[in-house]
Symmetry: C2
C-alpha cells in the first residue's frame, strides 16, 4: 500500500493575530506528508524545490517514511515562497507575497518506483499538472483525490472540468464550492459538482467542520472547538493527508470508511492549527492522535430512542 502526494514544498512567512514567523517550511505536500505518514508509508512525494530548501527537512521527511524520488531539486533557483496575513476571525487572509520561483518550471514526472501506487492525492497545483500526473500512471490508482482553488476556476476552467471527470474525490472549501457550482446553498452546490465528475465531494468549512457528499447522502464532521486557532496555514492539506492516509491504511473506499477518514483528517487538522507551520504535526505521536480522535467521538455522540 502506498500513497502518492503531489504538491508544493515551499517557504511561508505567516502573520496571525498571535504573532509572525520568518520564512518557515510549508507547502501543501509538506502538510499532506507529515499528516499521512502517521497512517501509511511510503508516502511517495512529487514536488519541486530550489537550492535553498533545507536538507534537514528532507532528512526528517525520509525518517518518517516519505520517499523523495519525485522531488526535483533545481540548483539555480529558489523554492516557492508565500507570505500571508490572517484576519482576526482566521477564516480570511491576505496574500502579501507570492514568489513562484521553481514552481514556474514544475513539470513533474512520476518516478518508475511510484507506479502502481494505489492512492493518489493531488494537492492544489494547476489542473494541467494534475491531469499530467494521472495520465502518467500506467495503472489507474484505486482512489484519486484532488484539491484546487478559485484561481484555477478563473483562469483554467476547461482543464479543471476535464480533470474533474478523472478523479474520485474533490476536497475544497465552502467558498470554492460556491464558485465552482455558482450555487450559494452547499447542498445545491454539491449536487452540481457531483454532476461534474467526482463521486465524492468534501466541503471544508474551517472551524465549522466539513461535509461529505455522495449521491444523496451527506455526513457532517465537526471541527474540534479550540481555545485558540494559532495558525490555520496547512490545516486543509493536513486534513487531506489524514483523510487519504486513513483510506490508504485501510484500503477501504466505501462511503462508511470515508466518514471515518474525515474524522481522522479533522483530528490531524486540529493539531496543525495549534502551532505555526507544520511544527505541531512533527510533535504528535500515535497516542496523541488516538486521544484526539476519541475527543471527536465524544464531541458528537448522543443517545436517542423512539417509543
Amino acid at each position: 500500500m502506498s500513497l502518492i502526494s503531489v504538491g508544493t514544498m515551499a517557504f511561508d512567512a505567516i502573520e496571525t493575530p498571535f504573532g509572525k514567523t520568518d520564512k518557515i517550511v510549508g507547502g501543501s505536500a509538506i502538510y499532506v506528508a507529515y499528516s499521512a505518514a502517521n497512517f501509511v508509508t511510503p508516502v511517495q512525494q512529487i514536488s519541486i524545490v530550489g537550492y535553498d530548501f533545507p536538507t534537514e527537512e528532507m532528512e526528517e521527511l525520509k525518517s518518517r517514511g516519505v520517499m523523495l524520488d519525485g522531488v526535483e531539486i533545481v540548483p539555480n533557483k529558489k523554492s516557492f515562497f508565500w507570505s500571508g496575513r490572517y484576519h482576526m476571525d482566521m477564516n480570511g487572509r491576505n496574500t502579501l507575497v507570492t514568489d513562484l520561483n521553481v514552481l514556474e518550471d514544475f513539470n513533474p514526472k512520476v518516478p518508475e518506483a511510484f507506479q502502481n501506487a494505489e492512492f493518489l492525492m493531488l494537492g492544489n497545483v494547476s489542473p494541467h499538472i494534475q491531469i499530467s500526473i494521472i495520465e502518467q500512471m500506467k495503472v489507474r490508482p484505486k482512489l484519486i483525490a484532488m484539491d484546487t482553488m478559485n484561481l484555477w476556476m478563473d483562469i483554467a476552467m476547461p482543464d479543471l472540468e476535464r480533470l474533474l471527470k478523472m478523479v474520485d474525490v474533490l476536497i475544497i472549501n465552502d467558498s470554492e464550492a460556491r464558485q465552482l457550482s455558482a450555487q450559494f446553498s452547499l447542498v445545491k452546490a454539491a449536487k452540481e459538482i457531483l454532476k461534474m465528475g467526482p463521486k465524492y465531494l468534501i466541503v471544508k468549512k474551517g472551524e465549522h467542520g466539513a461535509l461529505l457528499f455522495h449521491k444523496n447522502e451527506v455526513f457532517y464532521a465537526p471541527a474540534l472547538p479550540l481555545e485558540d486557532v494559532f495558525d490555520p496555514t496547512g490545516a486543509g492539506d493536513t486534513f487531506a493527508g489524514g483523510f487519504m492516509g486513513h483510506i490508504a491504511k485501510t484500503k477501504d473506499i466505501s462511503f462508511e470508511n470515508m466518514k471515518t477518514a474525515i474524522i481522522v483528517g479533522s483530528a490531524m487538522a486540529s493539531f496543525c492549527v495549534e502551532k505555526f507551520g507544520p511544527t505541531r504535526l512533527k510533535e504528535v505521536n500515535k497516542e496523541d492522535i488516538e486521544e484526539r480522535i476519541k475527543e471527536f467521538v465524544q464531541l458528537v455522540s448522543f443517545e436517542i430512542s423512539f417509543e
Copy 2:
C-alpha cells in the same frame, strides 16, 4: 409535567431572497409553543398581545395544548410588530421596523395555575421581566433556560448579570456569546460565561449547528444541510422549544439528555426554516419529527476502531 414559555406573540413582516410576507404571526413565544407542544403539554404561555391578534391563532394554540391564561390581551393597543430583511447568506439581517406597541406595557404576572411548573423557558424579553418571572415562582422550577440579545448587554447589563446567576441554561448565538464574554474564541467565551452563573451554555451557530458547553465538556450538534433556508425567522426559538420540550417530556436534566435535547431542537429548527413564519411547524406531525431526528443520527454517525 409542564413548561412555562415567556416571550412575545407578535406580527412579523419578512423579506428574504426567496420572497416577502405581509404581516404574519410571529414572536418568540409562538415559535417556542408550536415547537415544544409536540413533546410536552400543557405549554403554559406568558405573553401580551393587542386587540388585533387573531382569535384563530389563539384557538390553534389551545388545540395543541398551549394554555393562554398568562397571555394578556390589551384592548386599545396593537400587538408588537417587527419587520426585517435577510441578507443573501441568511446569517445577517436588517431590522426595518420595530413597533413595540403592547410590549411597552409588558409586566407579566405568573397565573396561579402556572405555579409548580417544573420547566421554565424565558424567551428574549428584558432581563428585568425575566427576573420578575423567576421571582414570582413560589417553587423554583427544576430547570430554567433563557435567551437574550445584544441589546440587553448594551443597555441592561447589571440586570442581565443578576439574571445569569438565577438560571441553569443560557441559549444564545455566537455573536451574542462573543459580546457577552468579550472573547472571540467560543471556547474561551464559554469559560467566561459559565463563570457568570449558568451551568450550561448553548451557542447557536445557524447553518453551522450548535455547541453545548458544561464544565469542561463540549458537544457539537450539526445543523442539517438544507437545499434552501427559506426563512430563518424563529429558528432559534423553535430550537429552544424543541430543547425544552424534550427536557420537560423526559424530566431528565443530565448533560447526556441535554445533548439529545439539542438534536431534537435542531431537528425542529430545520423544519421552521423551510417556510415563512411558523407555517411549517404547524404542518409537521410526530412521524415527520421522528424521521427528521433519524436524519440527524445518520448525519453524524461514523464507526472507528483502534488497534
